[in-house]
């Protein structure tokens, strides 16, 4: 019992320490509350740091955004997406990812498993097709209903319009006749009559304009009524779209299990080869040579097919992973440059003076300027990227090979490096320059050599500031990367956004908003990781973060 109590306490303190290091301080009162420590204080803190933020999110999303903003702003492709629509687009994006994975699996299935799966898919297809048919019928009938209701709404307005048109016509004719009469009754030289005619014609013109406006008003009313969308219909239509999409997927899935299946194709080719081989034994001369050549050709086709992988479209999670890989590549590249330069800047005032113009001029340059330049340079370095030994080497690496590193990726990474290294460089220089003089005196008394001084005193002492810089760099790099990917069309989150922008589909905007959240959450995770590192290398009295 006593031991239990002690271990519980230990767990509590290690939990609290973890929370402190990771900076997730909002969890602190929850842990303390679980241990029954000052419940009232903890509840107050929970209210302040968990409930209030949640309420703020709720209000912003469901009240302000869904309630006001969505109705106020209109875009070319309709209203802004509501939060539920954004969520369903997220599900659609995620579904696409699962589908691609399933397709890849289907492509590689063979033997009995394939047959079992094929049967299951056929059953599914028939059931989905049935559901689609039902949904189609429902849509058709609902369309009828909607049409009828709209027609009934439009009819009175239309009648009103006709009546107005008629009355306007009558009035206009009457006025025309009046003018005609007046003009004929005029005597030449009568100035007042001429003036009166002019006045009458003006009045007639004004009346015409007024009438036209009246008519247009009603016309617009009609078109608005015609364009009214029935919510029921929308819902049923969405259902129909869902089923038709599912059906399309299942059909592709089926072809991947049957006609386009890897093992089936290979088997078929193998069968052909054995047939050819039999034929070969019966042939002589040119015919035999031809057969033998075609056998060899088929064999090479088989070996290629065996190595081949399913080539599907890139899904969001693949792109997210590639973006993270790219940002870390750029980040490490930048840090690899920035930390040594920063250290030398901090150690040597002359070197700092030498570097200052470069830092001052290149630091504010936008990634949008760097990228095209870098892209041209990288493309120049790899004129034929598919055959370049470096690219082939990268493509064969485990884990990384999947992401198919290309010049666009390298250019994006270098852009990230160029834009993000400044914060690390400045912080490293500051950290090295502000080493406690006493610590340097210790190094002098111990007569430490340059490298011992560097690794035993200078670097450990400036690590907290270096990591503060690295944290800023990673944040900057993540922001820069999305823009770089968008510009270089390197496969990644930026490209996903740009593709959606170019698609201009009805749910493109919603998908882009989903990306906003994905980018934000990943950025947050990266930042937290750096905070943890920063906390781990900090020591008491370490220089403050900037």
């Amino acid at each position: 019992m006593v031991l239990n109590f002690v271990t519980m306490k230990k767990i509590k303190y290690s939990l609290l320490k973890t929370i402190d290091i990771t900076g997730l301080t909002f969890l602190d009162p929850v842990v303390r509350l679980c241990y029954g420590e000052e419940p009232q204080v903890q509840l107050k803190k929970i209210g302040q740091w968990i409930i209030v933020p949640l309420i703020a999110v709720f209000v912003a999303l469901f009240v302000i955004y869904d309630g006001f903003i969505v109705d106020t702003f209109k875009t070319k492709s309709g209203k802004l997406p509501t939060s539920s629509k954004i969520y369903s687009s997220y599900q659609a994006i995620d579904q696409l990812h699962d589908d691609e994975l399933a397709k890849e699996k289907a492509y590689n299935l063979s033997g009995e498993e394939r047959e079992v799966e094929l049967k299951a898919v056929e059953e599914k297809i028939s059931s989905v097709a049935k559901a689609l048919e039902l949904a189609g019928q429902a849509v058709a009938s609902q369309q009828e209903v909607t049409k009828a209701s709209i027609a009934s709404k439009v009819a009175p307005i239309q009648a009103e319009y006709e009546a107005l048109k008629e009355s306007i016509k009558v009035a206009a004719t009457a006025r025309a006749e009046e003018l005609e009469l007046f003009s004929q009754s005029m005597t030449p030289g009568d100035e007042s009559a001429a003036e009166k005619l002019l006045e009458l014609v003006r009045a007639d013109d004004a009346q015409d304009t007024l009438d036209r406006e009246k008519r247009n008003l009603i016309k617009e009313k009609i078109s608005v009524t015609l364009g009214e969308k029935s919510l029921d219909l929308e819902e049923i239509k969405a259902e129909e779209t869902y089923f038709s999409e599912r059906l399309a997927f299942l059909k592709t899935y089926k072809t991947l299990l049957s006609t386009e299946n890897k093992s089936l194709i290979i088997d078929e080719k193998k069968g052909r080869i054995s047939a050819y081989e039999q034929e070969l034994t019966t042939l002589t001369g040119a015919d035999a040579l031809k057969k033998a050549k075609s056998i060899v050709k088929q064999e090479s086709v088989i070996s290629k097919k065996e190595e081949s992988e399913y080539a599907g479209s890139k899904t969001i999670w693949y792109q997210v992973k590639r973006s993270v890989l790219c940002v870390f590549t750029g980040f490490f590249l930048g840090s690899f440059l920035a930390i040594p330069i920063g250290i030398f800047c901090g150690l040597n005032k002359t070197f700092m003076a030498m570097m200052t113009p470069f830092i001052a001029i290149f630091k504010p340059v936008s990634p949008i300027v760097w990228l095209p330049i870098i892209l041209i340079l990288v493309m120049g370095a790899f004129p034929n990227p598919d055959k370049h030994p470096f690219m082939e080497f990268l493509g064969e690496l485990p884990l990384i090979g999947v992401y198919k590193i290309n010049p666009a990726f390298i250019a994006s990474a270098i852009t990230v490096a160029l834009c993000s290294l400044w914060a690390t460089m400045a912080n490293t220089a500051l950290g090295v320059a502000s080493i406690d003089k006493d610590h340097m005196n210790v190094a002098r008394v111990l007569k430490l050599g340059f490298f011992a001084r560097l690794f035993k005193i200078i670097i450990p002492s400036s690590l907290p500031l270096i990591f503060a810089g690295l944290r800023i760099s990673l944040g900057v790099g993540w922001m820069v990367l999305i823009a770089a990917e968008l510009l270089s069309s390197s496969e990644g989150i930026g490209k996903f956004v740009f593709d959606e922008f170019n698609n201009g589909g009805s749910d493109s905007l919603a998908k882009m908003v989903v990306v906003v959240f994905i980018v934000g959450i990943i950025g947050l995770i990266l930042d937290r990781i750096m905070v943890i590192f920063q906390r781990l290398v900090s020591f008491e009295g370490a220089p403050a973060t900037i």
């Binding site: 006493d438 610590h439 210790v442 002098r444 008394v445 430490l448 005193i457 008491e540 009295g541």
Partner: protein, 300 residues
Amino acid sequence: MSFLELKDVDVSFGPPTNRVDILKDINLSVEENEFVAVIGFSGSGKSTLMNLLSGLQLPVKGESSFKGKAIKEPGPELGMMFQNYSLLPWLSVGDNVKLAINRVFPTLTKAEVHEKMLHYVKMVKLDHAVDKKPHELSGGMRQRASLSRTLSLDPEVLLLDEPLSALDALTRSELQDQILNIWENDKRTVVMITNDVDEAVLMADRIVPLTMGPGATLSKGFVVNMPRPRDRHTLNDEPEFMRLKSEITAFMLGLNKESKELKSDVKVTMPDVQPRDFSLPIATPRFSHLQSKHISPKKK
């Protein structure tokens, strides 16, 4: 030629047109195995003097020498113990000491280094805190860790820059005993800076006062002719101790007065301001009983 020597040394700071002399005409010679205490007021340049002896700072004029050779740069043979501990905060106490040992004895194996480190840490009774980081230690423990690191350099001269000034009285006397103990068991030359006359008399063979800065200089020393080991409890009754103490104190106070007189060339006439009377009106009946209460206890 003595063991450690400063000869006509000047130290000054600032541009030539506006130079401030910190130390002027410093002459100090320390014999081997001697314990010298330098005593002075704060701000008189004691730490600068220590930096000179350790080689962290070079004299502007004159020369500093150790075993007959000019001191050009700091080194482990002149073991300096810094006033503000100077422990590396990212290393544990053990690692701080090991850093020094690795430097001075580069041929030792890891196990030997560890053993040596434990020896020096035990010497200052810190073996329970070997794995603690400096910020987890109290001021006295940090001071001892710093001492342990300095001792681990196996220096020929121990330079102690106000090693005990930041400590409370109890820790202070404990550490004084430790330093004395180490010095007595393992004779070596010690130069210690202090601002405490009692401490200086208790520990040193010779006490050298540093006059007030700027342009401070060392005046004639006082030799402490008292047998060792000196017992701090009976010390107060010894006439020699009393004599030295009063003599040195009087000298130091004289220095203070002198410097004040030196500085009082410019006289500022103070305005004739009288303090206002904020005392309570006694006649008020409401307060009268309160006041009587305050004053009355003597009558009881």
